[in-house]
Protein backbone atom coordinates (compact mmCIF):
# COMPACT_ATOMS: atom_id res chain seq x y z
CA UNK A 1 0.00 0.00 0.00
CA UNK A 2 2.86 2.28 0.86
CA UNK A 3 4.55 1.47 -2.44
CA UNK A 4 1.39 2.33 -4.37
CA UNK A 5 0.82 5.53 -2.40
CA UNK A 6 4.38 6.82 -2.58
CA UNK A 7 5.78 5.41 -5.81
CA UNK A 8 2.65 4.47 -7.72
CA UNK A 9 3.93 0.94 -8.03
CA UNK A 10 2.41 -2.43 -7.27
CA UNK A 11 4.48 -4.35 -4.71
CA UNK A 12 4.76 -7.58 -6.67
CA UNK A 13 7.87 -9.20 -5.28
CA UNK A 14 8.72 -11.57 -8.12
CA UNK A 15 8.44 -8.77 -10.68
CA UNK A 16 10.45 -6.27 -8.65
CA UNK A 17 13.09 -8.89 -7.95
CA UNK A 18 13.54 -9.85 -11.60
CA UNK A 19 13.50 -6.27 -12.88
CA UNK A 20 15.91 -5.37 -10.08
CA UNK A 21 18.37 -7.82 -11.61
CA UNK A 22 17.92 -7.11 -15.30
CA UNK A 23 15.55 -4.21 -15.80
CA UNK A 24 15.79 -0.45 -15.99
CA UNK A 25 15.43 1.73 -12.86
CA UNK A 26 17.12 -0.87 -10.74
CA UNK A 27 17.97 1.21 -7.69
CA UNK A 28 14.56 1.49 -6.00
CA UNK A 29 13.86 -2.15 -6.82
CA UNK A 30 17.09 -3.31 -5.23
CA UNK A 31 16.36 -1.11 -2.21
CA UNK A 32 12.95 -2.79 -1.85
CA UNK A 33 14.54 -6.25 -2.05
CA UNK A 34 17.24 -5.25 0.46
CA UNK A 35 14.45 -3.97 2.71
CA UNK A 36 12.65 -7.32 2.52
CA UNK A 37 15.76 -9.14 3.71
CA UNK A 38 16.41 -6.49 6.35
CA UNK A 39 12.80 -6.73 7.55
CA UNK A 40 13.09 -10.51 7.81
CA UNK A 41 16.37 -10.17 9.68
CA UNK A 42 15.00 -7.64 12.15
CA UNK A 43 12.01 -9.86 12.92
CA UNK A 44 14.42 -12.50 14.16
CA UNK A 45 17.21 -10.29 15.57
CA UNK A 46 15.38 -7.27 16.98
CA UNK A 47 11.83 -8.46 17.62
CA UNK A 48 13.20 -11.78 18.83
CA UNK A 49 11.03 -14.08 16.77
CA UNK A 50 12.12 -17.70 17.31
CA UNK A 51 13.86 -19.23 14.30
CA UNK A 52 11.72 -21.56 12.17
CA UNK A 53 12.21 -25.12 13.31
CA UNK A 54 11.77 -26.49 9.83
CA UNK A 55 13.31 -29.91 9.32
CA UNK A 56 16.09 -29.76 6.77
CA UNK A 57 14.69 -30.56 3.34
CA UNK A 58 16.90 -32.04 0.61
CA UNK A 59 18.71 -29.45 -1.49
CA UNK A 60 17.55 -30.92 -4.81
CA UNK A 61 14.02 -30.19 -3.65
CA UNK A 62 14.95 -26.56 -2.93
CA UNK A 63 16.54 -26.37 -6.38
CA UNK A 64 13.58 -27.88 -8.21
CA UNK A 65 11.07 -25.75 -6.29
CA UNK A 66 13.17 -22.65 -6.97
CA UNK A 67 13.21 -23.26 -10.72
CA UNK A 68 9.44 -23.87 -10.77
CA UNK A 69 8.69 -20.77 -8.68
CA UNK A 70 11.03 -18.63 -10.79
CA UNK A 71 9.67 -19.78 -14.13
CA UNK A 72 6.05 -19.91 -12.96
CA UNK A 73 6.02 -16.38 -11.57
CA UNK A 74 7.48 -14.98 -14.79
CA UNK A 75 5.18 -16.93 -17.12
CA UNK A 76 2.13 -16.19 -14.96
CA UNK A 77 3.26 -12.57 -14.38
CA UNK A 78 3.22 -12.60 -10.61
CA UNK A 79 3.46 -14.35 -7.29
CA UNK A 80 1.49 -14.24 -4.05
CA UNK A 81 2.16 -10.57 -3.33
CA UNK A 82 1.47 -9.28 -6.83
CA UNK A 83 -1.60 -11.37 -7.62
CA UNK A 84 -3.23 -12.24 -4.29
CA UNK A 85 -2.59 -9.01 -2.40
CA UNK A 86 -2.13 -6.21 -4.93
CA UNK A 87 -4.06 -7.75 -7.82
CA UNK A 88 -7.18 -8.66 -5.85
CA UNK A 89 -6.95 -5.19 -4.28
CA UNK A 90 -7.24 -3.74 -7.77
CA UNK A 91 -10.13 -6.16 -8.40
CA UNK A 92 -8.26 -7.76 -11.27
CA UNK A 93 -10.03 -10.91 -12.50
CA UNK A 94 -6.68 -12.19 -13.80
CA UNK A 95 -5.14 -12.00 -10.36
CA UNK A 96 -8.10 -13.68 -8.70
CA UNK A 97 -7.86 -16.52 -11.24
CA UNK A 98 -4.09 -16.82 -10.78
CA UNK A 99 -4.49 -16.94 -6.98
CA UNK A 100 -7.08 -19.69 -7.11
CA UNK A 101 -4.95 -21.67 -9.55
CA UNK A 102 -1.67 -21.48 -7.63
CA UNK A 103 -3.28 -22.21 -4.26
CA UNK A 104 -5.00 -25.24 -5.82
CA UNK A 105 -1.75 -26.35 -7.45
CA UNK A 106 0.01 -25.91 -4.10
CA UNK A 107 -2.63 -27.96 -2.29
CA UNK A 108 -2.44 -30.67 -4.96
CA UNK A 109 1.35 -30.76 -4.75
CA UNK A 110 1.33 -31.09 -0.97
CA UNK A 111 -1.27 -33.84 -1.23
CA UNK A 112 0.81 -35.73 -3.80
CA UNK A 113 4.16 -35.34 -2.08
CA UNK A 114 3.12 -35.65 1.56
CA UNK A 115 0.30 -38.18 1.36
CA UNK A 116 0.51 -40.27 -1.77
CA UNK A 117 4.28 -40.44 -2.04
CA UNK A 118 5.57 -39.80 1.38
Amino acid sequence: MMMLFLLGRVAGISGIFWAGLVGPERSWRLMFIAGLALGGLSAYQIVGLPLPTTPQQPLWLAALAGILVGAGTRIGSGCTSGHSVCGIGRRSPRSLAATMVFISAGIATVYLTRHLMG
Partner: protein
Protein backbone atom coordinates in the same frame (compact mmCIF):
# COMPACT_ATOMS: atom_id res chain seq x y z
CA UNK B 1 13.60 9.73 -1.64
CA UNK B 2 12.17 7.03 -3.90
CA UNK B 3 14.87 4.65 -2.77
CA UNK B 4 14.19 5.38 0.86
CA UNK B 5 10.45 4.81 0.36
CA UNK B 6 11.17 1.50 -1.38
CA UNK B 7 13.57 0.45 1.37
CA UNK B 8 11.08 1.22 4.14
CA UNK B 9 8.24 -0.51 2.26
CA UNK B 10 10.51 -3.53 1.84
CA UNK B 11 11.43 -3.59 5.53
CA UNK B 12 7.77 -3.43 6.55
CA UNK B 13 6.89 -6.17 4.10
CA UNK B 14 9.75 -8.43 5.22
CA UNK B 15 8.93 -7.85 8.87
CA UNK B 16 5.29 -8.70 8.24
CA UNK B 17 6.12 -11.86 6.31
CA UNK B 18 8.44 -13.14 9.03
CA UNK B 19 6.16 -12.24 11.94
CA UNK B 20 3.14 -13.81 10.30
CA UNK B 21 4.94 -17.12 9.76
CA UNK B 22 5.25 -16.99 5.96
CA UNK B 23 9.02 -17.49 6.18
CA UNK B 24 8.50 -20.82 7.94
CA UNK B 25 8.23 -23.37 5.15
CA UNK B 26 6.65 -26.06 7.34
CA UNK B 27 3.92 -23.60 8.32
CA UNK B 28 3.21 -22.82 4.66
CA UNK B 29 3.09 -26.50 3.78
CA UNK B 30 0.80 -27.07 6.77
CA UNK B 31 -1.49 -24.38 5.38
CA UNK B 32 -1.63 -26.09 1.99
CA UNK B 33 -2.11 -29.52 3.58
CA UNK B 34 -5.90 -29.41 3.77
CA UNK B 35 -6.24 -33.18 3.54
CA UNK B 36 -3.81 -33.87 6.39
CA UNK B 37 -2.96 -31.84 9.47
CA UNK B 38 -4.34 -28.59 8.17
CA UNK B 39 -2.90 -25.51 9.83
CA UNK B 40 -5.31 -22.70 8.85
CA UNK B 41 -3.39 -19.85 10.58
CA UNK B 42 -2.02 -18.33 7.39
CA UNK B 43 -5.51 -17.87 5.98
CA UNK B 44 -5.87 -14.95 8.42
CA UNK B 45 -2.61 -13.47 7.20
CA UNK B 46 -3.72 -13.67 3.61
CA UNK B 47 -7.26 -12.54 4.34
CA UNK B 48 -6.14 -9.49 6.29
CA UNK B 49 -3.56 -8.52 3.65
CA UNK B 50 -6.20 -8.86 0.94
CA UNK B 51 -8.76 -6.89 2.97
CA UNK B 52 -6.35 -4.01 3.56
CA UNK B 53 -5.47 -4.02 -0.11
CA UNK B 54 -9.08 -4.22 -1.28
CA UNK B 55 -9.99 -1.34 1.03
CA UNK B 56 -7.08 1.00 0.36
CA UNK B 57 -6.14 0.41 -3.28
CA UNK B 58 -9.19 2.18 -4.77
CA UNK B 59 -8.67 5.13 -2.38
CA UNK B 60 -5.04 5.48 -3.44
CA UNK B 61 -5.76 5.09 -7.14
CA UNK B 62 -8.38 7.83 -6.88
CA UNK B 63 -5.58 10.34 -6.25
CA UNK B 64 -4.24 12.20 -9.26
CA UNK B 65 -0.72 10.82 -8.78
CA UNK B 66 1.46 9.04 -6.22
CA UNK B 67 3.35 11.16 -3.71
CA UNK B 68 6.84 10.60 -5.10
CA UNK B 69 6.31 9.72 -8.76
CA UNK B 70 4.73 11.36 -11.78
CA UNK B 71 2.06 8.74 -12.36
CA UNK B 72 0.72 5.38 -11.25
CA UNK B 73 2.17 2.39 -13.00
CA UNK B 74 -0.14 -0.54 -12.42
CA UNK B 75 -0.25 -3.62 -14.64
CA UNK B 76 -2.68 -3.30 -17.53
CA UNK B 77 -5.25 -6.00 -17.00
CA UNK B 78 -5.86 -8.19 -19.98
CA UNK B 79 -7.91 -11.35 -20.15
CA UNK B 80 -7.26 -14.61 -18.37
CA UNK B 81 -5.13 -16.51 -20.85
CA UNK B 82 -3.42 -19.84 -21.05
CA UNK B 83 -0.07 -18.33 -20.16
CA UNK B 84 -1.39 -16.93 -16.86
CA UNK B 85 -2.90 -20.26 -15.85
CA UNK B 86 0.17 -22.24 -16.93
CA UNK B 87 2.46 -19.93 -14.96
CA UNK B 88 0.23 -20.10 -11.89
CA UNK B 89 0.18 -23.92 -12.03
CA UNK B 90 3.99 -24.10 -12.30
CA UNK B 91 4.41 -21.58 -9.48
CA UNK B 92 1.89 -23.38 -7.26
CA UNK B 93 3.72 -26.69 -7.71
CA UNK B 94 7.02 -25.11 -6.69
CA UNK B 95 5.35 -23.38 -3.74
CA UNK B 96 3.78 -26.61 -2.46
CA UNK B 97 6.99 -28.55 -2.99
CA UNK B 98 9.18 -26.48 -0.69
CA UNK B 99 6.92 -23.93 1.02
CA UNK B 100 8.54 -20.76 -0.27
CA UNK B 101 7.12 -18.10 -2.54
CA UNK B 102 9.54 -15.34 -3.62
CA UNK B 103 8.95 -12.78 -0.83
CA UNK B 104 9.39 -15.08 2.17
CA UNK B 105 12.46 -16.69 0.57
CA UNK B 106 14.11 -13.26 0.32
CA UNK B 107 13.02 -12.31 3.84
CA UNK B 108 14.47 -15.58 5.18
CA UNK B 109 17.76 -15.22 3.29
CA UNK B 110 19.61 -13.47 6.16
CA UNK B 111 19.09 -16.60 8.29
CA UNK B 112 21.68 -18.11 5.98
CA UNK B 113 20.04 -21.50 5.49
CA UNK B 114 21.61 -23.37 2.57
CA UNK B 115 18.19 -24.46 1.31
CA UNK B 116 17.09 -20.82 1.06
CA UNK B 117 20.23 -19.84 -0.87
CA UNK B 118 19.81 -22.75 -3.29
CA UNK B 119 16.09 -21.95 -3.69
CA UNK B 120 16.79 -18.30 -4.54
CA UNK B 121 19.63 -19.05 -6.97
CA UNK B 122 17.43 -21.60 -8.75
CA UNK B 123 14.55 -19.12 -8.73
CA UNK B 124 16.76 -16.68 -10.66
CA UNK B 125 17.68 -19.53 -13.01
CA UNK B 126 14.01 -20.38 -13.49
CA UNK B 127 13.13 -16.75 -14.21
CA UNK B 128 15.97 -16.57 -16.70
CA UNK B 129 14.97 -19.87 -18.37
CA UNK B 130 11.39 -18.69 -18.80
CA UNK B 131 12.65 -15.60 -20.65
CA UNK B 132 14.59 -17.61 -23.22
CA UNK B 133 13.29 -17.00 -26.74
CA UNK B 134 12.89 -20.77 -27.23
CA UNK B 135 10.05 -20.91 -24.73
CA UNK B 136 8.13 -18.01 -26.17
CA UNK B 137 6.98 -19.16 -29.63
CA UNK B 138 5.69 -22.36 -28.02
CA UNK B 139 3.56 -20.42 -25.56
CA UNK B 140 2.04 -18.10 -28.14
CA UNK B 141 1.46 -21.08 -30.42
CA UNK B 142 -0.54 -22.89 -27.74
CA UNK B 143 -2.51 -19.73 -27.04
CA UNK B 144 -3.38 -19.28 -30.68
CA UNK B 145 -4.56 -22.84 -31.10
CA UNK B 146 -7.16 -22.45 -28.38
Amino acid sequence: MKNLAALISGILFGLGLALSGMTDTSKVIGFLDITGHWDPDLIWVMASAVLVSVGLTPLILRRARPLLAASFSVPASSGIDRQLILGAVIFGCGWGLFGYCPGPAIAALPLGDTGTVVFLLCMILGMWLSQLPVGKPDLTATTKQS
